[in-house]
Symmetry: C2
């Protein structure tokens, strides 16, 4: 049977703590040559709206211990929009009912068959937050930190939930450009996490005095001033666009999510503009240690309380979707959740 | 609704002639900047059997005229085997019922939703044969050719069916290593195509005196001796492994399927051996014109009856699966074929 899940079902069997527990051994498997990751690709065509594009984004990965290979794919209608003087790329809920398409497909390594079709919404929030937390646990100072957060979307929520799994948080300050968003966010998350939390009107006020700084925006430009960073801080960036090279250059320890840091972009001939907002700046990812080696203890994290440490470019890699997808699939089956589709609907007698 | 088709249903609405008609405008769209192709990737892990591997192979492409983006994925258990003194890589029918998994997923450019899930078996046979025929039509001499065929599998059948759409075939000689295979093949295809056909015991006898030579094998080593080739011949290779550089160097006109000729291989750390049988030799694809430009008339094909012309590396590119998949989807809908699945089973409210 191929199991088809909903986000509600995924949420019932996968939380932030389970995500951390699923990801840690998967990253170790990467270092031990028993897991694989295919670099992310984004394939563009013109979109249905003015100034829009269509993008199929895919990434793959799997591990022998999990027994699965995963592909995560999102089929996106994209639009650029100015927010707070900065250009952002937004996903348009263009599918029926104002919805999106993002799926994780899990395949069996022993038979090749399709084991599960899982929406990526919950997994996506959990994987970014959990991965950041794995990095923060090894790169932030011990103790009970104050946190400065830039961003107030769903990924910002996940950053805090992840951090709360690895540190007892003392205090949080959050900045985002829209006053109501940051105020609502501070009230809601402060209550959920039971941590004193306040909204502040600038990034520098969020950073001032923080032990841990995290950014969770979809900005196309740097979101903080590197001069605000102090010795001893840990700073986590989700996307490379949130930080400039000068700021990265200030790190005493800089770990990247993966040395496959550049995305492969494909556009029609002469339409390189379609990928413009997503094209990286050619940062030399390979010069820095990867999270997998940090998690496996093959490279050192923080060794000194005065070091300024950073983690960057927490974009989706296949092993995350394999680990969290396999957990959701196994637990959902055990609980009798999900819709069963005959697996032979997706098989054929003819050799591909 | 998301339409789920079977190979039998695809076969009812898509034949070789329709495939040629669907592919030709799609290749033109590539040259005109209205279609896109993502390079093929193969992502490996150790397999479930001794000497085996697991591979997820994916490729993407789409066109604005078709209104779709396609991903083709095969989830394969692979095994190496010696056949006729040469090493071949074989797909193991490891899925339930001795089956395979190969799928084409079609997405809407205007909504992002999943339009169709289509097995790739029939499309795979048709796309290779039809693409070869598009090349042969522009690179082979006019008139009624004799054909030399190396290989007697299903792709060899498709090569002949494709050629028969663009030329009235006078005579066919086929070689494959196993005598019964080539004899059965000659009897069966000769009858189907109503062309005199004979099985011969060596590649050189198949090539001798032929106007068109085509190879359709899964050999890991060159399958013909370049010294057998004569001025005026057209030679089509499906895979780069079937031909050595010296033979390619003899071509007066050499067109490649795509300048994205190299496959991106991913393996676990230290397990580069898993992809060994599939790794290309770094051939400089970019130095040769692509099929799309040949089809669009942007580069010249054969200009002289004495030229030795060649087409090589007809491996899967996304635009083929988009064009043939979209045709099958549209015709199947028009005929009321296929199983309808609610499209919202594959959608989500959460932003991916």
């Amino acid at each position: 049977m191929t199991l088809l899940l909903t986000n509600d079902e995924v949420e019932r069997v996968l939380d932030m703590r389970a995500s951390l527990q699923a990801l840690e051994p998967a990253y170790r498997d990467v270092t031990e040559g028993r897991a694989v990751m295919r670099r992310q690709s984004q394939t563009y065509l013109s979109g249905p709206l003015p100034q829009s594009s269509y993008c199929l984004k895919t990434v793959e990965g799997g591990s022998e211990a999990l027994g699965v290979m995963a592909i995560r794919l999102t089929s996106d209608v994209l639009r650029g929009r100015q927010v707070g003087g900065k250009l952002r790329r937004e996903k348009v809920p263009a599918a029926p009912g104002g919805s999106f398409l993002g799926l994780v497909l899990l395949f069996s390594l022993s038979t090749g068959e399709l084991l599960a079709i899982i929406p990526d919404g919950i997994i996506q929030r959990l994987r970014v937050g959990a991965t950041s937390a794995l990095a923060a646990d090894r790169l932030a100072r011990p103790g009970s930190p104050s946190v400065g957060l830039i961003g107030a979307g769903n990924q910002a929520e996940a950053q805090l939930r992840g951090l709360a799994c690895v540190r007892k948080l003392a205090h949080i300050r959050v900045y985002s450009p829209t006053p109501e968003h940051r105020t609502d966010f501070a009230t809601r998350l402060g209550r959920e996490l039971d941590v004193p939390m306040e909204a502040v009107p600038s990034p520098s006020e969020a950073i001032e005095g923080a032990d841990i700084v995290v950014t969770a925006t979809n900005s196309g430009d740097p979101v903080l001033d590197g001069d605000c960073l102090r010795p001893g801080m840990y700073v986590g960036f989700i996307r490379e666009f949130e930080v400039d090279d000068a700021t990265l250059g200030r790190a005493d320890v800089l770990v990247v999510h993966t040395q496959q840091g550049d995305i492969d972009h494909y556009t029609p001939r002469g339409r390189e503009d379609l990928a413009q907002l997503q094209r990286g700046r050619g940062y030399p990812w390979h010069r820095h240690p990867e999270l997998a080696d940090l998690v496996a203890g093959r490279v050192l994290g923080r060794t000194d309380g005065a070091q300024l440490t950073m983690f960057m470019n927490n974009f989706g890699v296949g092993i995350q979707f394999a680990a969290l997808g396999a957990h959701a699939w196994r637990e959902a089956r055990a609980c009798g959740l999900g819709r069963e589709i005959p697996t032979d609907w997706f098989l054929e007698d003819l050799q591909p």
